[in-house]
């Protein structure tokens, strides 16, 4: 089989475009199915969080809510308006503390608790995860809006 230079060039370009669009379709598909959305405790209790899909929760670890049973831990995440219990198995990150911000990733179980696969570690003691701060701000805004109403 002998190709003229023109055919060769056409073949190369066509092949290139084919490979590229297949790759792009594949990448976008993977992207779409792996986005992890973030919800505040209030949103979760309002039923906005997905069932059977991984998502993130952010807020503060409620004071004196941390319970340990061996390496199984549970704690309550609050945005000061609503609370959600989070269960996790494993070692908590160094910066995990009651009264401090936290972000956890996982799924809801049947009891409305979050089964976390990951509790996120950040690197600075004064640092508040932006998602956690966002949850507190939203709850504060909601309260402010309510107090204006009556």
């Amino acid at each position: 089989m002998s190709w003229s230079p023109r055919q060769k060039r056409f073949g190369l370009i066509a092949g290139g475009i084919l490979v590229l669009s297949a790759a792009a379709a594949f990448v976008l598909n993977a992207f779409q199915s792996n986005l992890v959305f973030f919800f505040t405790p209030t949103q979760i209790l309002n039923g906005e969080a997905p069932i059977d899909k991984t998502f993130r929760i952010g807020g503060m670890v409620k004071a004196e809510s941390l319970k340990r049973d061996g390496t199984e831990v549970s704690f309550v995440v609050t945005d000061t308006a609503k609370d959600i219990t989070v269960r996790y198995t494993g070692l908590l990150p160094d910066l995990f503390k009651e009264g401090k911000g936290v972000v956890a990733q996982g799924k809801l179980n049947g009891q409305g608790e979050m089964m976390a696969a990951e509790v996120l570690a950040k690197h600075d003691e004064n640092y508040m995860p932006p998602e956690a701060q966002h949850a507190l701000d939203k709850a504060a805004q909601a309260r402010a809006a309510q107090s204006v109403k009556p």
Partner: protein, 653 residues
């Protein structure tokens, strides 16, 4: 007084950047050779001044001069001397000064080692580097001056972030910056070629060694960062697809494509426009990485103070760099001639596929890294793109890349015959296949993914060895670039085997351990024998003594620690690792647990093949260095050599 001297020399250096960015370039337009000749001495003097400024800041750190705000915020009298020095780049301002030191260093190196280049070319390259320098100088002086004073003077400094008090972190930033900033040299060569209107083999040859050295540093920097995360963050991961890591991976992927594409441009005169675009992209992505890491849009150990003006500054700088270089490209590209013809199966076509795969991979990483930031900036909600996406996308792109690597190294230029390639590679293919099917059984359990990983690793490793043996049989001197190429490919294979091994066979146990308790990860048994308090120079720690036994024979004791630094309330986990050829045993200490008898949570891991990752990275770095040292790049009489090369090329075509 010393800090003022530092500030003064920094301002002087900024003025010199301006001189370097304007006069030599101007000189190339009006053919004024004396203006062009300004480039070399200006570049050298600029480096000396920045180095002096850097030394002044280091002096302020080593003498605990807390009247300098930056020193007070990042050092402490109790901090060990070595870390007082490395604290110079422990924060935002100082790391930018380090960046500038690297940039002027590269510029000075180009000035020194460019004797074989025409003067006009030197003037253009150094001029472009000067322009880049102006941008960063203004950034430092306007938004991030490390010499700002503090009043009243605090009695002691705040201390360096304990995570950064570590030997790995002492050298990680300088190496990574050498890589990032090195891309500016490749960029400067590309822009200089566009300005001159002569995109030819000569340009590619000049630019190659610089690009390869920058690539090697970038590889080393990324490897060091990964190594540090592995042992310092205390949970045994070595790559997290964290945006900060992605920021360094993107320029790496593109520069890998660039060093391959440059080869095609040098040898065959093709891919010229593409090569230039890759050089522009590699540098732009380095700047984007800086923006992501320095602007505070990302929160991590790297994002120090969050100051929006800094982010805006870098973003504008980035827009100018990309805009101007693409405009220049659009203006000059029509004049670029096409190179020699290429066959459907040829080394060129393999190189093209290499470029496409690497660029698509970069695009995928870019999408996953930037999308959450853009959505957040537009106030359209908060979301994240996690490791599953990156793993899902990255693996299918790397599999064909690794596969074509081997035929790409044996294919002839212009036109290759599949039958010939098969004859050369059949034993390699067979051996890799046998090993891929057999080795998983030997190492643990068989799975398709493990077998595929081993096949690709062995394919590349044996393919490189095969090429080397074939070449040794033939007469003639073998150049550094041949050895460098195969060493780097072999290193990549070792990394692939390491990743496959650790992903397939790692065992992680999070356990509760009291004194005397054991945990077994066959064939190893770990026993907690003691828990003691130890005092460090600026911290107190709780230290566990964990005996490791194999077949009831104790062969090592590991000492993981939980440290509490005086200067900060946050505890730090120091993992204890025993490394061997086949893998690591990894123990890190968690929190004390409530209960009748004292006990602690612990991570006990068996991480097979992890040392292969670091070994592979080192081989790649070494390969890059060896390739860049190839003698033919250092020939004085490059012009004459190129002329003959060009003649043989045209007679061949």
């Amino acid at each position: 007084m010393i800090p003022e001297l530092g500030q003064f020399s920094l301002v002087l250096a900024a003025v010199l950047s301006l001189v370097l960015g304007v006069f030599p370039l101007w000189g190339t337009f009006n053919h004024n050779t004396s203006w062009q000749a300004l480039a070399r001495p200006t570049a050298l003097l600029q480096f000396v001044l920045v180095a002096l400024s850097f030394a002044c800041l280091a002096y302020a750190f080593l003498t605990n001069d807390f009247s300098v705000k930056y020193v007070a915020e990042h050092s402490n009298t109790m901090l060990p001397k070595a870390y007082q020095f490395s604290a110079v780049w422990g924060g935002h301002e100082g790391s930018l000064l380090l960046w500038m030191l690297m940039l002027t260093g590269w510029t000075a190196a180009v000035a020194l080692f460019s004797q074989s280049l025409p003067l006009a070319m030197v003037a253009r390259v150094l001029g472009v580097l000067g322009l880049v320098g102006i941008g960063f100088m203004l950034f430092i002086l306007l938004t991030s001056n490390p010499f700002d004073r503090l009043f009243p003077i605090p009695p002691d400094g705040r201390d360096l972030n304990p995570l950064l008090q570590d030997p790995g972190l002492v050298i990680h930033p300088p190496m990574l910056y050498m890589g990032y900033v090195g891309m500016s040299v490749a960029f400067a060569f590309a822009i200089a070629a566009l300005l001159s209107g002569r995109l030819d083999a000569a340009w590619a040859r000049w630019s190659r060694p610089w690009t390869v050295i920058a690539w090697a540093f970038l590889t080393f920097g990324i490897g060091l960062g990964s190594w540090w995360a592995y042992y310092e963050l205390g949970w045994g991961g070595w790559w997290f697809w964290d945006p900060v890591e992605n920021a360094s991976l993107m320029p790496w992927l593109v520069s890998t494509a660039l060093i391959h594409s440059l080869m095609v441009t040098e040898k065959r005169g093709s891919f010229k426009a593409w090569t230039v675009l890759l050089a522009i992209a590699a540098f732009s992505l380095s700047l984007l990485g800086t923006f992501l890491v320095r602007s505070g849009v990302l929160t991590s150990v790297h994002a120090f103070a969050t100051d929006p003006t800094r982010g805006v500054f870098i973003l504008i700088f980035l827009a100018i760099v990309i805009g101007v270089s693409l405009a220049l490209f659009a203006w000059r590209a029509p004049e670029v001639t096409l190179g020699g013809s290429m066959g459907v199966v040829s080394r060129e076509s393999f190189m093209l596929l290499n470029s496409v795969l690497l660029v698509v991979a970069t695009g995928a990483v870019l999408l996953g890294t930037l999308y959450p930031l853009i959505i957040d900036a537009l106030n359209m909600g908060k979301l994240s793109v996690g490791p599953p996406y990156f793993n899902l996308v990255f693996a299918p792109l790397m599999v064909p890349l690794l596969f074509i690597l081997v035929p790409g190294t044996v294919a002839h230029w212009r036109e290759a015959k599949l039958a010939d390639m098969w004859m050369q590679l059949r034993w390699v293919a067979l051996a890799s296949l046998v090993l891929a099917i057999g080795l998983p059984f030997v190492w643990g359990s068989w799975s398709a993914g493990t077998a595929l990983g081993i096949f690709l690793g062995m394919w590349v490793a044996l393919g490189s060895l095969n090429n080397a043996i074939e070449r040794l049989r033939k007469p003639g001197r073998i150049g550094g670039s041949f050895w460098g190429q195969h060493l780097a490919h072999f290193g990549l294979a070792v990394v692939v085997l390491g990743i496959t091994g650790v992903k397939s066979f790692e065992v992680e146990r999070d356990v509760r351990m009291g004194l005397g308790d054991t945990v077994t990860i066959a064939p190893y048994t770990f026993r907690l024998v003691d828990m003691v308090d130890v005092n460090g120079p600026n911290y107190k720690a709780m230290q566990a003594h964990v005996e490791v036994a194999k077949n009831d024979q104790v062969f090592d004791v590991l000492y993981p620690e939980k440290r509490r630094y005086f200067s900060s309330a946050m505890p730090m986990t120091e993992a204890a690792i025993r490394s061997g050829f086949w893998g690591d045993l990894y123990v890190s200490l968690g929190d004390p647990l409530p209960g009748d008898k004292p006990s602690w949570s612990m991570r006990v891991y068996h991480k097979p093949f992890v040392p292969w990752l670091w070994t592979g990275v080192l081989l790649m770095v070494l390969g890059g260095m060896v390739a860049a040292m190839d003698r033919r790049y250092r020939k004085r009489n490059v012009a004459a050599q190129l002329k003959t090369a060009g003649e043989s090329l045209s007679s061949a075509a």
